[in-house]
Symmetry: C2
Subunit: 407 residues, 2 copies
Amino acid sequence: MLINPDRFRQSMEEMARVGATKGGGVNRLTLSDADKQARDLFAGWADGAGLELRIDEMGNMFARRAGRENDAPPAMAGSHLDSVPNGGRFDGSLGVLAALEAVRTLNDKNISTRRPVEIVNWTNEEGPRFPPSMMGSGVFAGAIPLESAYEAKDAEGARFIDELERIGYRGDAPCTPRPVGSYLELHIEQGPALVSEGVQVGVVEGIFGLTWLRVTMKGERDHAGPTPMHMRRDALVGAARTIAAIREIPGKLHPEFVATVGEFSLSPNAINVIPDDVTFSVDFRHSDPDLLREARKLIEEATHREAEKENLEIEIQDVGGSTPTAFDANAARAVRSACEESGYSHRSMWSAAGHDARYAADLGPTAMIFVPCVAGKSHSEEEDMDWEDAYRGCDVLARGLLKMADS
Amino acid sequence: MLINPDRFRQSMEEMARVGATKGGGVNRLTLSDADKQARDLFAGWADGAGLELRIDEMGNMFARRAGRENDAPPAMAGSHLDSVPNGGRFDGSLGVLAALEAVRTLNDKNISTRRPVEIVNWTNEEGPRFPPSMMGSGVFAGAIPLESAYEAKDAEGARFIDELERIGYRGDAPCTPRPVGSYLELHIEQGPALVSEGVQVGVVEGIFGLTWLRVTMKGERDHAGPTPMHMRRDALVGAARTIAAIREIPGKLHPEFVATVGEFSLSPNAINVIPDDVTFSVDFRHSDPDLLREARKLIEEATHREAEKENLEIEIQDVGGSTPTAFDANAARAVRSACEESGYSHRSMWSAAGHDARYAADLGPTAMIFVPCVAGKSHSEEEDMDWEDAYRGCDVLARGLLKMADS
């Protein structure tokens, strides 16, 4: 391997102690004390590697190693050090610390690069404390206004900007778009494809587009006893049939198409009352914008059809979404040839989850590297991975970064 | 008419001012201050009619008019003065005050009866403050232990017995089964059958049996993006298909069979997470115990079938129920002939909702009289009825009571 696996693992394990939970995960909510400790630890390591650290207005951290053409847009690599509540040790940290290991490796071997190299730790990738997710990279790419990010509030009413200042990470550098020579991000897959197929590395060529809908169905509240079945307008029955119909839609479109109903609420929610008001979410994702449009049409048709059967009123609202993001072919090629140099099995794939790479892709050639995680689990303390997979991912990142830094 | 409609209406309107809501309903939760006021008003009227008032340990109120054979089991009529939160003006009050009007009519006309006549106001018919419902009649019939009724607590932790004493209605009379000569209860239908068929009076020959189940389905929590459809164990999809299947079961059994899913909850209830834990209730009712058994089998089969498709674990719990109660043929006949004497259109029916008459039927010949309510609505401020329907119901009750008191 190009990299030093033991050193990499040591850093990963030290980082995993910051905000460690009893269940083996980490609790490093954005701008919490644990987030500050993780940042301080990373800053110390960057300093130890001779890197110049720059912190921008969003708290995004860029640790820079000079290049031979130091004004050229940098070859970037990174991810995030924040976590969801009781999240895993590898989600995010893996990408930041693999980039650190890659730079340490360049230092060890006295390798100079044409472009400068920057390791980035994006602020608030996860988003559960301060929605939306991918906030730091979103502001950096010009997709989220700095002002609205600053005003985001957590459940206790604390403002993002106040918490950013409290932990001492409101930097001076402007958080505005600048040219990026390349961006590579190593991440656990957070899904079961690689682990179930026994493939060592995923060459990620894009990020799925996503649509979030909120469907409301309204019927009539009635006593569950004396109201004959044929006179009912049962909002829950209409919603249940719609959800059953939505489950069949992905199979009509593409093997990788996914659709999920995750939120559900009803009123009055009493054992002997026919529900008159149901609201549920629909989340659907794919790489092909035409199929996303087709799915939306099929979901709307199913909702109307089932509402009509039960004589319900409906409302369908858009509550979020993003278009599919195809990554740069050259960046993906660099990752693929890094796999081949080392003899790692690999496959092309798209990410169905959002990542900072989605925003980075707006500024320069971008690709991601996925490595298998146990049972495809993430966002919980159950998240785990094989260290050999982590080393391979780090090795591919280092090789890919070197290629992009010299391109 | 045998009765005095104006006097009856005046009492109904005065009672409706006790705990009146802005929306035209009443708020007389069991053992609240409004319940006490309603009881005091009724006690004053009973006194004015020369009746002897007896209050039992449960607060059930019996206002007695002597009979020629005063030791014979009494001909009873009544219902309840408590209400659900923001309930209607007719639900319960109609049956108590129609019985009062019937007795006032006997007084007016100096009619003596063989049996004594007792007007009853049952404590806590509704049950939302202190579950279960029909508590006063349930203890009276020996179906609910007095001790467990006394220990029932409301949402604020107040005990039934303490609230009963606070409002001054913990009586001395034992609340234990005693022979009942007959029991008649006038009530709004709380369903749309009479109003939609244009029938004036329902001769109620029994109360549906009821089964309450709680179904839990457990799958696997996963990220809504990277988890392919074929690898999911989505508890909400399993539940939705089961609920859609349950909706089809009544039609296979009987036109009057009803089944309802009213309660529903899921976890984690997040827009981008596949739900791993869903719980829902099933309420199903009919007059035929064989069909109730058949329905249970079909519901269990549907649950197992849909759980298997999504590879879910399931649990089905019994959380309540009652067997069908067929009323006495003679009591129903008395109601029917009362309708015919006055030329009111009528039909036989069963009640799909529970009533105190269910417990009274254990102690003596019982029947109910239903009258139409607007759109079949109850348990809300929308509840309403045509006064002419109320007068007809009161008239039938008075005639039926007279027949039973002389039987």
